[in-house]
Symmetry: none
Subunit: 189 residues, 2 copies
């Protein structure tokens, strides 16, 4: 049952990603090749040795109880017209999705929309008061989410600003939300 080198290496990568705790010896037995071959394969593929792999897994856990976004703004704002409109992009990667099925967790999309809504308001500080959102279509790892926020109305006497947010991937709407924001200071201008 000889596999080609290429085939073996791709299976090897998969195996190791799947279970980083496997030794070269076990892999050699599994693929019916010598330990040296496995080592050569790892070197070609730049896969570190067992202990390093384990250490990486451990460090990831230890580094910081990861969870999520610490940034001021989720996504990168690429255009903004204060008190009017704003646009941001957010590249979805593997840490934003459910491992199960690769679909992005809702709160990341919400986070992008919410922080864009905060950013568009031309004020010292804006807080979200209410919001109504719909997750229209699943977003996956690798997708680039383009989010647009548009100020749709204001109630200056109540310190409220209304914002409509739409997120798209490849021009298809994936998320829509209405945000009612509270602003600390009244409107300037």
């Amino acid at each position: 049952m000889k596999r080609s080198k290429k085939e073996r290496q791709s299976l090897l990568t998969e195996k190791i990603t799947d279970n980083p705790f496997v030794t070269d010896e076990q892999l050699a037995a599994e693929f019916n090749v010598s330990v040296q071959t496995i080592r050569l394969d790892r070197m070609e593929l730049a896969i570190p040795e067992l202990r390093e792999r384990i250490k990486d897994v451990a460090a990831k856990n230890y580094d910081e109880v990861k969870s999520l976004p610490l940034d001021e703004v989720i996504g990168e704002i690429i255009d903004i017209e204060l008190d009017n409109r704003a646009l941001s992009i957010f590249d979805v990667s593997s840490e934003h999705v459910f491992q199960r099925n690769g679909i992005a967790r809702g709160h990341h999309l919400f986070a992008q929309a919410n922080s864009l809504a905060v950013a568009v308001i031309n004020d010292e500080l804006a807080l979200t008061a209410k919001s109504n959102v719909a997750f229209v279509k699943p977003v996956r790892a690798g997708d680039r989410v383009v989010t647009k926020a548009i100020v749709t109305g204001k109630l200056p006497e109540k310190n409220r600003t209304f914002i409509e947010v739409t997120s798209t991937v490849d021009n298809e709407v994936v998320f829509k939300g209405d945000f009612e924001m509270y602003r600390t200071k009244g409107e300037e201008k």
Copy 2:
């Protein structure tokens, strides 16, 4: 400078718990004793060697990531009754708030609520379809947010589950939300 054996051992335990990645040699240097002494100490205290410790950390991390959904939850779930109710707590710290005024960013509260809504659903996978939320009262760094999710209804023919989420700090409501969840029964492309 010389500490008693007992003192050293308790400090040792602390050090290692604090940073499991430290070698006997480093510890020996730190406590000004020989490596052998450190080894004896570890044996008496039943502390495994560096590699085992690292492997433990890694395995723990790995299991959690694999077994999921609890790892994908923002906040810590302290009680759960599948398809019925769930409770989680989330300690707000400085990285979750606006520097300006110390008020928590909305999407963190949303994330806690949303992931609790996902967790309470007793299914392979749940996705948020829509949600309607209100940020009732500002939350600040240091606050412990207690969030309760209650399943309020279902539309099995449409694969929908409705969940009401309420977050409180010191028994005062700070956040309320209604979530409409989509649940996949088995497959999905």
